[in-house]
Amino acid sequence: MFEHVIIGQYLPGQSVLHRMDARAKLLCLFFLLIIIFMTNDWIGYGSVWVGTLIMFFLSGVSFRYMRKGMIPILILIAFTFLLHAFFTKEGTILLSLGAFSVYSGGLQEGTFIAMRLFLLVWMTSLFTLTTSPIDLTDALEQIFRPLERFGISPHEIAFMMSIAIRFIPTLLQETEKVLKAQVARGADFTKGSLKDRSQAFISLLVPLFVRSFRRAEELAYAMEARGYHGGVGRTKLRKLTWRRRDTAACLVVFCFGMICMFLRQ
């Protein structure tokens, strides 16, 4: 059940979006989110739809995969739509159901907000699907560089993020081991009185922390033995390269945003 934890949501691939620099993608995403929040009419939503569809085709993500990812969010979207459809009282009455009546303004407002949520989720998902967490961590390390002035080391943040990602599968194994060991000793996590189950729970929690701390220490010793000393003068295995096409992509998105702003007035 935990298989997908290790892989993450990233889909490896060779599409245009995959090959873009992670920093450029982050910048583009930032522009796009602003555009979505500024949009408030049919023309605006239409153009954002077209833009998102183009990005979707460029990403090479299959339709079926995308649909699977979007289904959980549909409940929230449907809920939001209904909330607006029933509670906004503008325009003409289209339908009356007892105490509730649906106004045309409510329907339009509901459609807009539902589209906004849908597009927000779609766009951010596309970003996550085409950018590996490791690349993004490297990108964040560079983006956070100005924080150094406030005593926060971007290298340390990126380092901790990679260690945390690496630790997840290891700790899952540890959890399962402790769980099995306690079950073998007679602990029952699924039935029994509240007191019994509470005890079983504590018997899981404490050893898990002991083992985790031991793991952490082993790793720290290994690092110190190899002379780890933080970000200064450290060379990198992976390097991010900003190419001309990354600049071009950012410009395209920026111009798209400008056109949307222009059409808005």
Binding site: H4, V5, V121, F127, L136, T137, M160, L194
Partner: protein, 194 residues
């Protein structure tokens, strides 16, 4: 301020534990309610790591989730979490760890009753920030109309709150134990190091 490697790794460790705690629901069921252990792991992170490192580790957790690892509840992750109304809970863990850490640091000896007090302050912060964020997220992102009220949001949170209260009691009992374990562990480490 620069951290020692072991501190960096402890922070990373708790970030990873959060990711697991958010999703162990299939293992542990108390009274029919599936469980996420996030709020209590945030409390423990503050207690064991201290305010600064605890808050740092919760920030790392949020970042790891945002870059796309499925560490948030329900195996979700990625930038889309930013537009989710429940993102406030993830932010609240940072505050929870910091405040709990500060309160634990103040006392030399932690008795169970004090641990109870601290743990519940942590839980209260968790829900105050998370639920208020949720309310305002619905207002801003989804432009919720007038029919949507403040008490509605709190009503949604009532069921998970009951489960978290039980968990927090258990955690409060374990905190002195865990703290003893940590001091013991540190003493052991110093012996082997010298």
């Amino acid at each position: 301020m620069h951290w020692k490697p072991i501190q960096l790794i402890y922070a990373a460790l708790f970030a990873a534990l959060m990711g697991i705690g958010a999703n162990v629901t299939s293992y542990l069921v108390i009274g029919g309610v599936p469980i996420t252990l996030q709020s209590i792991i945030a409390i423990i992170a503050g207690a064991l790591l201290g305010s600064r490192l605890g808050a740092l580790s919760m920030t790392i957790y949020a970042l790891v989730g945002l870059v796309g690892m499925p560490v948030f509840a329900g195996f979700s992750g990625g930038v889309r979490a930013l537009v989710s109304p429940t993102f406030g809970f993830i932010l609240s863990f940072i505050v929870v760890a910091f405040v709990v850490g500060k309160m634990i640091e103040k006392k030399k000896k932690i008795v169970t009753s004090y641990a109870f007090f601290v743990a519940f302050i942590g839980l209260a912060l968790n829900y105050m920030i998370g639920t208020n964020y949720m309310y305002f997220a619905y207002l801003w992102i989804a432009d919720a109309p007038d029919g949507f009220s403040y008490s509605m949001v709190w009503l949604w949170m009532a069921l998970p709150l009951v489960k978290d209260i039980i968990l927090t009691i258990l955690t409060a009992v374990s905190i002195p134990k865990l703290l003893r374990m940590r001091t013991h562990h540190l003493a052991e480490t110093k012996q082997t190091a010298s």
